[in-house]
């Protein structure tokens, strides 16, 4: 082959100008065989303790049951090793699956259109804000403090680039977003969007009312609904029904592992008035030269490879395979399985709340109804309690004080369909034990 190419050696082939050769040798791991790699990673796995603990962590990443059929189908090489389906004739299968994903997301949110996915829930929110800014020309947004703190952090990062102002709505004593001053805030027509999350970071079901959304729209403000726990869409009133015109969120719960934070899968759904401002890929149904139904990437004039600096977003690679896992999960679970799963999440979380608040000194922080997470006020500092629980092989939840200084005595605890009665009993027992010991020390 070297001869065919007309060079004497690989070194000749790779020759670069003087001064650009390696200044020092590449130093990485020695090469390992596959069995040694497996051994090495078994060592890494042994240094993490995902399976050794019972966990009540959620807050945007949820452990749910994933039927084995999801992995068996999604890991087929044709799906796993395909590129973006630019050559539609040899990508009909993947394109149809993505069309089905878009359909599922519109049916779940109640909105008209959905894209082929974005990186995750937080970046989906940032992209939705860009859509609203482009729709209105306004450079400020109003966001509830009960929106996931990481999502708001990402929005702030993007806002640095976009030079946007971000104002916040407080939360009420019952855990819902305070909207008493919303109409006044919207009246000066400064805001491109108002953003609420439901269920919010406290697990509380927290939509705007249809009337509030209507008044926002009348002031030219786009209502953006955030859903960090997509499973809730199977049970709760659709974002469209309470007036969201863009709904974004995280669909990791549909058939994707928590995987220490990624990859997860963001979605964007919107009313058809926002279609041309939608970022990322869209699959459309058309026909081929013989008139047969056929799927194809469409409306690409929005995208970076055509529009370059005038594109609606820079997004190129998205989360296609995670969206495929979600689509297979949704197909396998069906409406019956999804409803059962959502109901189990609500029921187990109620059991969790009842068991924990039965322990002396623990109470529900907020009174409003929740989905699969509940904020629990604890005696003392939540961070201290978490450490005591970790010694008992329990990850007790998220210390809300990490994001809300005023809630440093509050834990966010999550229960899913995988949380058992025994897990809840063990947690309640540990809480009682920790508190009894603390009381004894006093």
């Amino acid at each position: 082959m070297l001869q065919a190419v007309g060079v004497g050696s690989l070194e000749d082939l790779m020759r670069v100008p003087e001064g650009l050769a390696l200044r020092s040798p590449v130093a990485v791991t020695p090469q390992l065989s596959e069995s040694e790699i497996a051994d090495r990673f078994a060592g890494f796995a042994a240094r993490t303790t995902a399976g050794g603990y019972i966990s009540f962590l959620g807050a945007g990443a949820y452990r749910h049951y994933i039927p084995p059929v999801v992995g068996a189908l999604a890991m087929r090489g044709e799906f796993l090793t395909a590129y973006t389906p630019y050559q539609a004739e040899v990508s009909q299968g993947y394109l149809q699956a993505t069309y089905e994903w878009q359909s599922y997301i519109t049916l779940l949110t109640g909105l008209d259109v959905a894209n082929a996915s974005v990186y995750d829930g937080a970046t989906a929110l940032a992209e939705a804000v860009i859509m609203a800014v482009n729709a209105s020309g306004r450079k400020a947004v109003l966001v509830s403090r009960a929106v996931h703190p990481n999502y708001r952090a990402v929005l702030r990062t993007y806002a640095e680039g976009l030079e946007l102002a971000i104002d916040e709505l407080p939360y009420r004593a019952d855990g819902r977003t305070e909207t008493i001053s919303l109409d006044a805030a919207l009246a000066d027509q400064r805001y491109a969007a108002v953003i609420v999350q439901t269920p919010n970071i406290f697990g509380v079901i927290d939509p705007l009312t249809a009337a509030e959304s209507g008044r926002a729209a009348a002031n030219g403000t786009v209502v953006i609904g955030v859903v960090a726990e997509a499973l809730s869409l199977a049970a709760l009133a659709t974002p469209a029904s309470w007036g969201a015109r863009i709904c974004v969120g995280e669909a990791q719960s549909f058939g994707n592992a928590v995987a220490y934070g990624g990859p997860h899968v963001g979605f964007i759904a919107a009313g058809s008035e926002h279609l041309r401002r939608m970022p990322g890929r869209l699959v459309g149904k058309s026909v081929d030269t013989e008139g047969r139904p056929a799927y194809v990437l469409t409306l690409q004039a929005r995208e970076q490879h055509i529009r370059r600096e005038k594109a609606t977003s820079n997004i190129c690679t998205n989360q296609a395979h995670c969206a495929l896992c979600a689509t297979i999960y949704l197909a396998a679970m069906g409406k019956t399985g999804l409803r059962d799963c959502a109901a189990l999440n609500i029921a187990r979380t109620r059991e969790l709340r009842d068991a924990v608040t039965a322990v002396e000194g623990f109470s529900a922080r907020f009174a409003a109804p929740v989905f699969n997470e509940v904020a629990i006020r604890v005696p003392g500092r939540a961070s201290d309690l978490l450490r005591a629980l970790e010694e008992r092989a329990i990850l007790g939840g998220l210390d809300l004080g990490r994001f809300y200084p005023e809630l440093d005595d509050t834990l966010l605890m999550t229960a899913t369909e995988l949380t058992t009665g025994a897990d809840i009993a063990r947690l309640a027992g540990a809480l009682a034990e920790v508190e009894t010991r603390a009381a004894a020390r006093i």
């Binding site: 796993l80 299968g93 008209d112 990402v154 056929a294 469409t298 970076q304 197909a331 069906g334 609500i346």
Partner: protein
Amino acid sequence: MPPPAFDTPLIFDTGQDGRANCYLPHGPQLQELLPVDLLRVDLPLPDNSELDVVRHFTRLSHKTYGIDTVFYPLGSCTMKYNPRINDAMANLPALRDLHPFAPDHAAQGALAIMWELERALASLFGMAAFSLNPAAGAHAELTALLIAKAYFAKRGESQRNVVIVPDTAHGTNPASAAMVGFRVVSLKSDGRGRVDPVALAAAAGPDTAVCMMTNPNTLGLFEDRIAEVSDVIHRAGALMYYDGANANALMGNTRPGDMGFDLMHLNLHKTFSIPHGGGGAGAGPVGVAAALVPFLPAPVVRAYEVDGSAAAADGWRDSAGLHFSLDFTAPDAIGTMRSFWSNFAHMVRALAYIYANGAEGLTVTSQLAVLNANYVRVGISDVVDIPYPEINRHEFVASAQGLKRDTGVRALDLGKALLDRGYHAPTVYFPLIVPECLMIEPTETESKETLDGFIAAFREIVAAARTDPESALGTPRTTPVGRIDETRAARQPDLRWKPAPPAGE
């Protein structure tokens, strides 16, 4: 072999009530749990039996080309083999089920994987540090430009708002610049398909923030005057950004850091063998020179010795004996770019790939990628135009302009004709500066036999087109569908299934 051309109804058209699978115990009714005004009215989704689901998606897979089924010489995409050991490691339960809010002491192995990968990438590419935070290449570009913006703000040079981008650049470069409020200046390539330092010097000035380049560039040509280019940009007080989409051409052989680049990203889903998955998830680590380290996004993985002192972070090092934490408190960090810390499962895959190759293997990988690309170029250079006939790197561009003039057969048609022969098409019509462009990147994992087969098929297609243009114009003919009416797709958007209206309406 063409896949079977059976029609596959939408999943919404096949289900029936009563066909639900029993994955979970039956729960209570939702109405018993929450007030009805909080609940949705109906859930218009189908219940399909598991067999129907399996058959549906298996049939869809039959109508999809992947690297596992065909040679996939898609330029700029590095469609190399994706070793299955990587997926197996990512799927280890302790890693797969680790929650992102797990405390650091319960996540030591995961943090060790991230740290080792960061160190390996720093050594390979000559950067002081890497952040694994960004989710994909374009996301990494955005991250890097935010770092540049913060760096200049800190230096009191906020007037720097221009990004210089060569006309061969990926479309994400200008789109990312626009997202941070930077103005884009496009720089014309010289007659050799490269950036001319003299022309660049005229464009660079006190408002220049960043020059974004890839090397080799998207023509597959090594930017041999890159040292002069970097000098020009640095003298203007600006930063050099390396778009790592083409890193498979130089890994282990030359380093962006040694060329004068200050910031860079990698597409782990290209160079480091992570499956593309039909368009993601990807992963786009960002690397920076020492002066930019404080601005990397949060969180940062910190490593400590047994005695609690910070572990030295120059070059690669085995993580054994170290302990780790996630640091969210760096004062100059640009913030965070995503919901959680990284596309972690892909970090596992990339590190497994690095272990499987070692330094020597990674170096040879790039060499063979370059050899394969040149071998294909030489193999077809007498039947299509090669606008830059010289030793290229991991990919090259050909042009069908002559063929189009003589026969009406375009680059697009050649790509479609290849589909009928069981090959994926090359990238077509990119880069934009070459008319009727075909961009071909074979990667190192293909055998000589595969390359010879492709060359032969390509030559036959061109020869047939010269005598009978119709042989290429109507292709593909053996795929599940033929060419698709894209105008109709755009003019009458049908983007979702809709339930049939209730009877009587």
